[in-house]
């Protein structure tokens, strides 16, 4: 028997019985457990580099229900590198404006409208099942082009034996169990990670004593495409805070912060949910528009992470390794960056071009990112759910002042939205011999900029790149690793501002995940070779 834990929105990788289910266990270089946003991104990235990868998921598609809706620019940039972005942006709802209310007063609005000259918007709203479907479409396309990716649906990992240099997995299917072996096992099996439990590893942090009612509502309303957030909402029974945000297909995400002592059964009664939603919508529209409840659920949120993301040849990525409250949209967005960080490192190790210790830098870099996300997400949650009387007094003082004075607005925190993590000062990064613009220091993710009739990030691809602006560099191979030269003779104004500043020319060494390794005022092959050596952990 293989239990179904949840319903799927799309069937993406139906179960088929295969020969490997009989006989002796087959060894695979990489097995990814979990076909959520993180496992799929990692599989696509590795497969496109030619590294064979097997994904096991206990269901056969994307789970139905209210999960991620806000996908950030950095995630879209990664998806674009992997060929999955266009569908996401086409289907997604682009939004820039947010309004923050305290009771019936609007205290301010913000505009995320990024500076001009980026391919992707700051954010799109897209239901998570679509995000997963578009990744699967890109995987199918990559498979057709020869990428060695295999996904086995309804393959549930039920036991793990870790032998140090490899693992043996027991996998349950509709036709019974079989075993397989993995040189590298990547646990992308979500916040409840069965693999983490099988390894007896802990997952520590804070549970926020609060319940959030989430209603995804189908309605044709002409509310603007904005994020509306209320502290102490004025409509009846709305709890401590409320959120209204648009998704594709005329679906709206509505959240109510209900507090800790509630009866979940009672609160999930559709009549009771409708009364809340009616009160919210009529306070905005003047009447109750026609709508249907698509999906409703109650969540409690937590912030926690594993101490170490790498345990020898078993590596954790995404929600299995770290979990944050959704205010700030840092869950899937950070998990996709985990995959982006891990893929090229694992690929180099498997190809024998780097030592396994390169994988330790996946752990240190992404543990740092997780800490940053947990910090931001905890601060937002503490602002929204003050934990003491004095904390509530100050919170309300901020809201009160924000209404009257601009200075208090930066203190209002309804979630600091996900921005790319930087690794300034970490081991794999080299010198800043240019001393150029701040946004392109070694350690940072490359900002986009227009180039010819496209954008610069599209030119970087998924290998090491030597980006020469206003001067010339050559392809350079050092320690078996190639850095492709991309020479830009006539940079656009935005490119100049973001990469040159006052300098006439610059050379950047950029990692496959598009983070900047080092930069110089001119091209020097020896300096680049040294930085490249550092970047692959051969210090």
């Amino acid at each position: 028997m293989l239990a179904e834990r949840y319903k799927t929105a799309f069937q993406l990788y139906p179960y088929t019985r295969i020969a490997a289910q009989e006989g002796t266990a087959t060894r695979h270089p990489v097995v990814i457990v979990g076909g959520g946003p993180v496992g799929l991104t990692l599989a696509l990235d590795l497969g496109k580099k030619g590294t064979p990868v097997l994904v096991l998921d206990d269901h056969d598609g994307a789970g139905l229900g209210s999960k991620a809706i806000c996908f950030a620019k950095r995630t879209l940039d990664i998806a674009n590198r992997l060929g999955a972005c266009q569908q996401m942006v086409d289907k997604g709802v682009v939004w820039n404006v947010g309004k923050v209310f305290h009771a019936d007063q609007k205290i301010y609005d913000f505009d995320l409208q990024p500076e001009a000259g980026h391919r992707n918007p700051a954010f799109i709203n897209l239901q998570q099942p679509y995000f997963e479907k578009f990744l699967c479409d890109a995987i199918n396309a990559a498979q057709s082009a020869g990428a060695p990716i295999e996904i086995r649906g309804r393959n549930c990992v039920t036991a793990l034996e870790n032998h140090g240099t490899y693992s043996t997995l027991t996998v349950n299917t509709p036709d019974g169990s079989y075993q397989l072996e993995a040189d590298y096992l990547i646990a992308c099996d979500g916040a409840r990670s069965p693999l983490r439990d099988m390894m007896g590893l802990s997952f520590d942090g804070r549970v926020f004593e609060d319940n959030f009612l989430i209603a995804d509502v189908h309605m044709k309303a002409d509310f603007p495409t904005e994020r509306w957030f209320w502290f102490e909402p004025p409509f009846e029974n709305a709890g401590q805070s409320a959120l209204l945000h648009k998704q594709p297909d005329d679906i709206w995400r509505i959240d109510f912060q209900l507090g800790w002592d509630i009866d979940r059964e009672v609160e999930l009664d559709p009549a009771r949910i409708r009364a809340r939603v009616d009160a919210m919508l009529s306070s905005q529209a003047g009447h109750v528009p026609e709508y249907e409840l698509e999906w409703t659920s109650i969540y409690t949120f937590q912030c926690r992470r594993m101490k170490k993301f790498r345990h020898g040849n078993v590596i954790f990525a995404g929600d299995s390794a770290h979990q944050v409250s959704p205010f700030g949209a840092r869950g899937a967005n950070s998990g996709v960056q985990d995959a982006d960080n891990l893929a090229w490192k694992l690929d180099l190790v498997l190809k024998g071009l780097a030592e396994p210790n390169l994988l330790d830098t996946y752990a240190t870099e992404r543990q740092h990112a997780a800490d940053e996300n947990i910090l931001n997400s905890s601060r937002a949650t503490d602002f929204m759910t003050p934990k003491s009387d004095v904390s509530k007094t100050f919170r309300n003082a901020v809201l009160d002042l924000a209404n009257r004075h601009a200075f208090a607005r930066p203190l209002v925190n309804s979630g600091r939205l996900s921005v790319p993590c930087n690794y300034i000062g970490f081991d794999l990064f080299g010198e800043d011999a240019l001393q150029g613009p701040e946004g392109t220091q070694p350690g940072m993710a490359c900002p986009d900029a227009p180039h010819l009739d496209g954008y610069i990030l599209e030119r970087l691809g998924g290998e090491f790149t030597l980006l020469a602006i206003g001067c010339m560099a050559d392809d350079l191979k050092a320690h078996g690793v190639l850095a492709n030269a991309v020479n830009i003779k006539a940079p656009s104004d935005a490119m100049r501002a973001r990469y040159l500043g006052a300098h006439p020319c610059a050379v950047y060494l950029i990692r496959p995940d598009q983070h900047i390794v080092a930069r110089w005022p001119d091209y020097n092959a020896d300096a680049v070779a040294t930085a490249l050596k550092t970047a692959i952990g051969k210090a």
């Binding site: 007094t393 100050f394 309300n396 009160d400 208090a408």
Partner: protein, 59 residues
């Protein structure tokens, strides 16, 4: 460096004005006023290190 030497030109007048601002307020309203005042002053100081020193000095 946080200035912990006397710095207010009319100390008695300032003190009186501060207390008088709370007249007629109940405890919750007074606490709210104090919080708004602290935030307003903190913004004026702005310097992050000075604010930390001030929090430490007040403890």
């Amino acid at each position: 460096m946080l200035n912990l030497a006397p710095n207010i030109s009319d100390p008695d007048g300032f003190y009186e004005e501060l207390i008088r601002a709370h007249e007629g307020l109940d405890k919750a309203q007074s606490d709210a006023l104090d919080a708004r005042l602290i935030l307003t002053l903190a913004n004026h100081i702005g310097d992050r290190a000075l604010l930390s020193q001030a929090i430490a000095a007040a403890k």
